[in-house]
Symmetry: C2
Subunit: 198 residues, 2 copies
């Protein structure tokens, strides 16, 4: 009896419990120990006790270990903006979405801190992070337009939201025992209102 | 009598009047005609009637033709923020700096429009533009800190300023006969204030 490639992969997965998690863990350890540039996929797989083939079943490349959550985060932000109460102003819809995003991160504080150190040490990863944030701003502006918000208000609210998100996220990861994400978001939007009022 | 490399370059420059301008013009024409990716430095030099060696005397690579003005723009913004009247709020200092930047672009509307089309057609150039803008935001936040502005106000004002700058610049380049840059800036900061007030 022969097996298809998919069946083979399924069987292999049963033999490799939590392969994705083990690979991600090994990759993050190596990026912190040896640097992102220096680490090879072969080393990651070896450290996880798996094969390179298994690595590429879960991640396109070694950078994706750090960015695979981005599409889910974007979907979450967009859904939160689109489904915010109709009477919410654009900035209120964006602020609620960022609070929801905070819940997405809440469980992963230690992971987020490790990820942040890796990115801070590598200019290419910093560029990739910037591009991710710009993409999130574009997606939130589109979500606001779906609510009937016109430009430039849609773009301004989305860009302001991403600026707040970045600042809050930096505060949140830099504290070993951070304040609640939602409190940080509220304070930061208050600051933004005061700053832009001049 | 021998000549040094620098003297040789000076002599060559005299034989190639406005070499930088001719190379930039040829490069922009080719990027628009054939696409940025497809264009080679050899083609640019040939179109300008100059050598590749001359090209590399003015530009590190073909991308720099589109980005060589960025350090000057950054210096201008930083100087304007640092020297704004002491009583100006952070956002007022940033807004004045962006108006000054507008004067930097004023003469080059046709060039800016061509440049924008080239960038819009190429994802790598869009990424480079994002990174340029993020760098400008970081530099303006530093300039605000030099004025004694603390965080998060410094970062928020700088990020908000760059968001406005991007929106205003897009409006300004998309119109064949645009409104005054300073008027667009003032309107956009008013919009931002209204948006963030929720």
């Amino acid at each position: 009896m022969s097996v298809t490639a998919i069946e083979y992969d399924q069987v292999m997965s049963r033999w490799e419990p939590n392969a994705r998690g083990r690979l991600a863990q090994a990759a993050m350890d190596l990026y912190l120990e040896e640097g992102f540039e220096q680490t090879t996929v072969a080393e990651i797989a070896a450290r996880a006790g798996l094969t390179e083939r298994t690595f590429f079943r879960y991640f396109t490349d070694k950078r994706e270990v750090l960015f695979w959550g981005a599409p889910a985060l974007q979907d979450l932000l967009v859904a939160a903006v689109v489904t915010a109460p109709a009477e919410d102003s654009p900035i209120t819809a964006v602020a609620s979405a960022i609070v929801v995003a905070g819940e997405f991160f809440q469980e992963g504080h230690a992971f987020s801190r490790r990820r942040q150190s890796i990115i801070a040490a590598n200019p290419d990863l910093q560029e990739r992070e910037l591009i991710k944030l710009a993409t999130l701003a574009g997606a939130m502006a589109d979500a606001l337009r779906q609510r009937g918000v016109t430009d430039p208000a849609a773009t301004l609210a989305a860009e302001a939201g991403v600026a707040v998100f970045r600042i809050v996220f930096d505060q949140w990861v830099s504290d070993e025992t951070p304040r609640r994400f939602s409190d940080l978001v509220r304070d930061s939007f208050d600051e933004l209102r005061d700053v832009t009022a001049g």
